[in-house]
């Protein structure tokens, strides 16, 4: 017989799996450029069974019919079970802050975001490079996004890309936009992230 505590956990897993399968369907319909019919019933069945098992777990816990229904719900979760378990296990969330030593240096994260052409933007239309004054940035940690899409690293002429020069007191980002390089354009939302060392 399946105990009430396990039923409660399965209901939570089924609810998460419902969202995961719905998300999967949405991704598939984007890829296939139209409605995806393969598993369209699964999200409904998962939500339906989660609700029914949740209700039945009070009056019918420990009875064979409920065990059969709950086990069937468990099999419906299938490939989503692993991810659902992971999400359920992390439900409370954890923030890990770096330790601060008495002396030496700590790693900090930088984040700069701006829209080219707007007041306060760090780059103007046509600009190619930008210097950010974060000391001792760690090599290979600077990333650039334009309109929330990560750029490819390298001095490429056939697509948008960027390179970074790391110096002791700053780093310089160069953005490549075609050949000749036309630089950044008005309206681009640019985000630059890095990890750097700060002496304490």
């Amino acid at each position: 017989m399946i105990p009430a505590s396990q039923l409660a956990q399965w209901v939570q897993l089924a609810n998460i799996s419902q969202y995961l399968s719905e998300d999967d369907n949405a991704k598939q319909s984007i890829m296939q450029w139209g409605p995806y019919r393969g598993n369209i019933r699964l999200p409904f069945l998962l939500g339906f069974y989660a609700d029914i098992v949740n209700w039945a777990s009070i009056p019918y816990v420990g009875t064979e019919p409920l065990d059969i229904v709950a086990t069937y719900m468990y099999t419906l979760m299938g490939k989503y079970l692993a991810q659902a378990s992971s999400i359920l296990g992390n439900a409370t969330g954890t923030v890990i802050a770096p330790g601060t030593p008495a002396s030496g240096s700590i790693i900090k994260a930088s984040f700069d975001q701006f829209t080219v052409g707007q007041a306060g933007a760090l780059m103007n239309a046509g600009d190619i490079s930008l210097q950010l004054n974060y000391p001792k940035a760690q090599a290979n940690t600077v990333t650039v996004e334009i309109n929330n899409v990560p750029l490819t690293y390298g001095a490429l002429t056939d697509q948008l890309s960027y390179t970074v020069v790391y110096n002791a007191t700053n780093f310089v980002v160069t953005i490549y936009n075609g050949s000749p390089n036309e630089g950044v354009q008005d309206g681009w939302l640019i985000a630059i992230r890095s990890l750097y060392q700060q002496t304490v």
């Binding site: 409904f44 339906f48 029914i52």
Partner: protein, 84 residues
């Protein structure tokens, strides 16, 4: 229009759940019933009526609750046709 007491707002969905629980057993025992034409749509319609009745009861919307309950009763009364 009928007026429901708070007790009935709880009891009515409970009866709906009871019926849907029997349907869920039918599917779990024999998943191939889902291939009966419109079987799942009818389960979905019954389930939606339950949710509408619950929501309507929550907001004391007697008209909406009555409509949802009527629809659910019609499905339940025709279960021989709809689910077999």
């Amino acid at each position: 229009m009928a007026t429901y007491s708070k007790t009935e707002v709880v009891v009515l969905p409970n009866n709906m759940y009871q019926f849907l629980y029997s349907l869920s057993q039918q599917i779990a025992n024999n998943p191939s019933v889902q291939s009966i034409p419109n079987y799942e749509q009818n389960v979905a319609a019954a389930y939606n009526s339950l949710n509408e009745a619950k929501t309507a009861g929550l907001y004391s919307d007697q008209t909406a609750a009555q409509m949802a309950i009527n629809r659910f009763n019609a499905i339940q009364n025709n279960q021989v046709i709809l689910f077999q």
